[in-house]
């Protein structure tokens, strides 16, 4: 029941919002997302950190086609639901100082998006998963299109078509699997797993690529990333936050739930390719981040680099790597939302996000600087920040996969420091200029967004045990499936 509630509540909230007076849109949206957070907390409190799927709801939906409203939460879903419901209120709150026109639709789209995201993470029916997956694309498309910046038409169209193309290939894969299920066909996750695992190796490879393409575009993994910097750059801040903070985790989650256990032999065949692409992406995107002149683009490329490491670690199929991917998804989400907000604050006060025209902000904004430093340290994965736990586990797993590739992946430690410190120095340090000399330090509203982020960055870095524990058993379980299969095929 809780699972259904978690999906439906934001939708109900969005519907009510449409009927409300414009004045109440902001507080109502925030309230809805906070109640959703409370629901998550209630769920976490009841959640048993074992390998089972809990809070399962299974109603027939299109019974004739074997499609069910089949949802439930295991440790992996739990962490991503936490991520979604923690970030959404912060994202909503981060928009409070903006006055978007038609903001009722703006906030209802965000809430609609939250519903779809939660749905993606809890769906246990392949078709339902696909529906939520596409549903999540719709609100973000409109958010980017209607409230985006320069050239938004062309950019969002490219984004929309690119990701939609990927999803359609995935749909083909899902439907193929569906027809491999015995008897009355079914989209249920267990049925699809069984069907996929029984396929011959060559077919598994095809399915692998069908699914991987969709997920790789969403994350994005090199070389499927070119929609991303433009879209992040053009979208309004909240759109970018939703995209990189939560939505790209759909791709990683997709790999975990709808790829690895579905076609283990296909994965065996192609995992090294995926790892190599991801690691190329780490170095490539980091280098690009170094030469960006625009803060938003810089963070966009850094995000590709970070996601590359997550994907690489995940495809090592090593338990440490998978757990590293889980914790790093959380950390990346928190850190990147913080960074987008920092850029938003800089832009709103100086009307520029070009690195070269900034500088000297630290002189008049010490609190803002401190917050920026902590979040930056999370991004460069300094120990005792959230970024380190995941990065260490991930590099560890890639290094175990192959020493040289692991060392190349580790370059993110150095290159990350290069681009982050460089941009920090040029925006925050030095003498102030005309644009930055009257930079006002953080206001209450901004503190309400950034302080929780700072606290989470440090808290997760110092004591990640509770989060690791939530997904431990589920990851073990997944790992068991993969190793069993590897043992069988040998």
């Amino acid at each position: 029941m809780l699972t259904t509630l978690l999906i439906l509540w934001p939708l109900v909230g969005a519907a009510i919002l449409l009927a409300l007076d414009a004045r109440f849109a902001k507080p109502w949206a925030l309230t809805v997302s906070l109640i959703e957070l409370v629901l998550t907390i209630v769920t976490v409190a009841q959640f048993q950190p074992d390998a089972t799927t809990q809070f399962v709801v299974n109603y027939p939906w299109v019974a004739s086609l074997g499609i069910n409203f089949y949802v439930g939460i295991d440790g992996i879903s739990m962490l991503l639901v936490i991520l979604t419901t923690v970030l959404t209120p912060l994202i909503i709150l981060s928009s409070f100082k903006n006055s978007y026109e038609k903001h009722i639709s703006f906030y209802s789209l965000i809430l609609f998006m939250e519903m779809a995201l939660v749905g993606v993470f809890v769906a246990l029916d392949g078709f339902l998963f696909y529906i939520f997956w596409e549903m999540a694309l719709i609100p973000i498309y409109f958010i980017c299109l209607r409230w985006g910046g320069v050239n938004r038409g062309a950019v969002t169209l490219k984004f929309f078509i690119y990701t939609l193309a990927g999803s359609l290939v995935m749909l083909v894969g899902l439907i193929y699997l569906y027809y491999q299920t015995p008897g009355e066909h079914s989209f249920a996750v267990e049925a699809l797993y069984a069907a996929g695992q029984n396929l011959p190796a060559s077919t598994q490879s095809l399915i692998f690529w069908a699914m991987f393409l969709a997920f790789a575009i969403k994350m994005p993994v090199f070389p499927f990333h070119t929609w991303q910097p433009d879209t992040y750059h053009t979208s309004p801040t909240q759109g970018t936050m939703l995209l990189s903070g939560i939505m790209l985790k759909m791709g990683i989650f997709g790999v975990i739930r709808w790829l690895l256990p579905v076609v283990p032999q296909g994965v065996n065949e192609w995992a090294s390719t995926a790892i190599i692409l991801s690691v190329i992406g780490i170095v490539y995107a980091s280098c690009l981040a170094i030469v960006q002149k625009d803060l938003k683009r810089l963070i966009a490329y850094s995000s590709i680099a970070h996601v590359g490491l997550i994907a690489a670690g995940l495809f090592t199929l090593n338990k440490i790597g998978m757990q590293g991917a889980m914790i790093q998804m959380i950390s990346h989400g928190i850190v990147v939302v913080g960074l987008w907000y920092i850029i938003d604050i800089i832009f709103s006060r100086t009307t520029t996000q070009e690195i070269a025209s900034l500088g000297g902000i630290r002189n008049s904004a010490p609190i803002f600087t401190t917050v920026f430093v902590v979040i930056m340290l999370g991004s460069v994965a300094l120990p005792l920040t959230s970024g380190f736990v995941g990065e260490f586990l991930l590099i560890n797993s890639v290094f175990q996969f192959n020493n040289i590739i692991g060392a190349v992946a580790g370059l993110t430690m150095i290159l990350g420091a290069v681009y982050m410190l460089r941009s920090f120095q040029q925006t925050m340090l030095g003498e102030a200029n005309v644009r930055t000399q009257n930079f006002i330090d953080l206001g209450l509203n901004e503190k309400l967004v950034l302080y929780p982020i700072v606290v989470m960055v440090i808290l997760i870095g110092v004591y990640p045990a509770p989060l690791l524990k939530i997904s431990e058993a589920a990851v073990n379980n997944l790992h068991q499936i993969l190793t069993n299969y590897q043992a069988l095929s040998q």
């Binding site: 596409e134 409109f142 439907i175 070119t226 960006q292 120990p383 692991g406 150095i414 120095q425 003498e431």
Partner: protein
């Protein structure tokens, strides 16, 4: 006893948080009180543990304490747990003891700075991380401290953040350290893969199963050493340390001389078992240490900035410590690290006192004759100079002599190069000393008018450190001089296992040892005399005109153009590559393929675009319908 351990790093952490949160509501007096008090508490607690270990019965040579589990997943597990054994206790005494003195000194030095509170926050945070580094009972906790002190170093080098040159120096330090850190973390991962654990106790006990010269151990030790090269500023990653002098002088004394930069020495000493199993790596350590010692010493001869001279001197002295470690003389390396902490902190703080008194002047060509203006600084600086030059009975004499004796027993070449580096040290240090304190003052009238001795909060730490530089060597008096080498006895449990693996160490006979001692002291006096005759008798002052220098002199004056070389070989190519990625690969290649694919499809389905009405409801409807159509059509196939 073990319960005390947690409070030692906690005290400076609380100091940091306390000053950070109360910030503006604390007066400078209270800030000083809390910051110094926190370190003092840590010092007292460390002393208690230290003396307990000193008097501990045979076999009970360590205290451990586990605070909480940090990262546990799969077969990987690491906790926040501490190990206080003779090695870490020695380090803790230096960190908290010298650290406390430098905190006190900073109260005077930084009093008029706007960033007074911030400075003490960073300083306390540094002590916290440095303690984690040496107290951690596993590699990852050491790594936490390792990167944490790097952060503090970054924050403190760029302390005066309006100056972008300083910020550049800070950034350079952080990035070069990160290069080393990558090596270190890969080494830690390789340890985990090899031993299935990253706790010191597990690793060292299993290490015995590996033969001497084992390939995997060689890789591990090399990777760890890469970390040490970065942190301890050895060739080729040393260039950040001279630039790090941009930070306030107490920072140079604490972080860039006495403690942080010696982390690499600690790390290798801690891993003595692994290094002993890999003679190949030890050779590398010796060669790099030796090369750095000599190289940096030659650069120091031609520098005119008082802090730069001391910085290159630090690089050179660290090189000597690595020589000791490379020779398998781990105690000797730690011994020199300890005495160096005393006299180099003293010299830096002395330099700070000079700079303070000279209205922020750092160029020794504009100093001179300060003996009469700064009497206490003069005397204490002289003690430090004698100590680093290795004049008996000052502290540096004993530790340096021990390194050279070990070198002689190992190889005459190592001895000769090490001796040359030491002799150069005594030359450039006395050059610095004479140019600063003797002769006539060369400052402008304006500056001369303001020269003053520093306040008590600064001179008292100088005096304490001078005493330590005078007597510090007595913890390691060699047998030949009738001592029993207390430090050696204290540390022996830490190095027992590697001593067993390495087997019998050849010792010099006493007469050879005495002859070498006499030789090096004699030659040192000659070097001092040369410096005296050039800079005091001939009153020669280094020229400001670079063109008039000889080719060799110009080469060392410009630090062998290493920074320029790195810029050409590493920095520029990286930017060039990135630019190529940006403008060619990204924009021309990948994006055109993507857009081309898109265009081909668009062109093929141009008519279908007519259905784009811009109506949300229509899109959803269309999508759902098409999915269903797809499904239905598929089921009839």
């Amino acid at each position: 006893m073990s319960d005390l351990i947690g409070f030692i790093p906690l005290a400076p952490l609380l100091g940091f948080l306390f000053i950070g949160f109360l910030n503006k509501s604390l007066t400078k007096g209270w800030v000083s009180f809390f910051a110094c008090g926190a370190v003092f508490v840590a010092f007292i607690l460390s002393s208690v543990l230290f003396f307990n270990l000193l008097n501990a019965p045979e076999g009970q040579a360590a205290f451990t304490y586990t605070a909480f589990d940090w990262i546990t997943t799969g077969n990987f597990s690491v906790s926040f747990s501490f190990l206080v054994d003779p090695l870490s206790a020695t380090m803790m005494m230096i960190i908290t003891g010298v650290g406390f003195l430098i905190h006190v000194y900073s109260v005077g030095y930084m009093y008029h700075d706007d960033g007074f509170r911030r400075f003490f926050m960073y300083l306390n945070l540094f002590i916290f991380f440095m303690l984690l580094l040496v107290m951690g009972s596993n590699y990852l906790l050491m790594f936490v401290g390792w990167e944490g002190v790097g952060l503090c170093s970054y924050l403190l080098i760029g302390f005066w953040f309006k100056n972008q040159d300083y910020n550049d120096a800070a950034k350079k330090a952080f990035i070069m350290n990160r290069i080393g850190d990558l090596g270190l973390i890969l080494g830690v991962i390789l340890i985990f893969v090899t031993f299935g654990s990253i706790n010191y106790a597990d690793v060292f006990s299993k290490a015995g199963e590996f033969p001497v010269g084992s390939e995997i151990i060689t890789w591990i030790t090399i990777l760890l050493f890469v970390g040490a090269i970065g942190k301890s500023a050895q060739i080729p990653l040393y260039t950040w340390l001279p630039d790090a002098m941009a930070g306030p002088t107490p920072v140079s004394a604490l972080i860039h001389a006495a403690t942080m930069v010696t982390a690499g020495v600690y790390m290798i000493a801690r891993n003595n078992v692994l290094y002993t199993l890999s003679p190949f790596t030890l050779e590398i350590v010796t060669v790099i240490g030796l090369a750095t010692a000599l190289f940096a010493a030659t650069i120091a001869i031609a520098q005119n900035d008082i802090k730069k001279v001391l910085a290159y001197s630090t690089v050179s002295q660290l090189g000597l410590m690595f020589v000791a470690l490379g020779l398998g003389a781990f105690t000797t390396g730690i011994f020199h690290m300890a005495t160096h902490a005393f006299f180099k902190a003293l010299l830096f703080l002395g330099a700070g006192s000079v700079i303070h008194g000279m209205s922020d002047e750092q160029d020794i060509r504009k100093m001179g004759g300060l003996r009469k203006y700064l009497p206490i600084t003069f005397i204490t600086f002289l003690v430090g100079t004698l100590a680093i030059a290795g004049i008996p009975p000052f502290a540096g004499f004993f530790s340096k002599d021990e390194i050279l004796a070990n070198a002689f027993a190992h190889s005459k070449v190592v001895y000769a190069v090490g001796a040359i580096a030491s002799l150069l040290t005594s030359f450039y240090m006395f050059r610095l000393f004479f140019l600063t304190f003797s002769g006539e003052n060369r400052a402008s009238e304006e500056v001369k008018h303001h020269i003053h001795e520093s306040p008590k909060s600064m001179t008292i730490p100088l005096m304490v450190l001078a005493v330590l530089s005078l007597i510090g060597g007595f913890m390691g008096v060699p047998e030949v001089l009738g001592g029993s080498h207390a430090l050696n006895n204290f540390l022996s449990p830490v190095f027992a296992q590697s001593a067993q693996i390495a087997g019998e160490h050849h010792h010099l006979d006493h007469s050879t040892e005495l002859i070498l001692m006499g030789l090096i002291v004699g030659l040192t006096l000659v070097m001092i005399f040369i410096a005296y005759s050039i800079y005091v008798r001939r009153k020669s002052v280094p020229t400001s005109n670079e063109a008039s220098l000889g080719a060799a002199h110009r080469l060392v004056y410009n630090k062998y153009y290493v920074d320029e070389a790195y810029n050409t070989v590493v920095v520029k190519p990286l930017y060039f590559l990135s630019k190529v990625f940006d403008s060619v690969v990204e924009k021309l290649l990948i994006d055109n393929i993507v857009n081309g694919t898109g265009k081909a499809i668009t062109w093929g389905s141009k008519t279908l675009r007519l259905v784009q009405t811009g109506n949300t409801g229509f899109y959803i409807l269309a999508m759902v319908i098409s999915i269903i159509v797809l499904l239905v059509s598929r089921s009839f196939l």
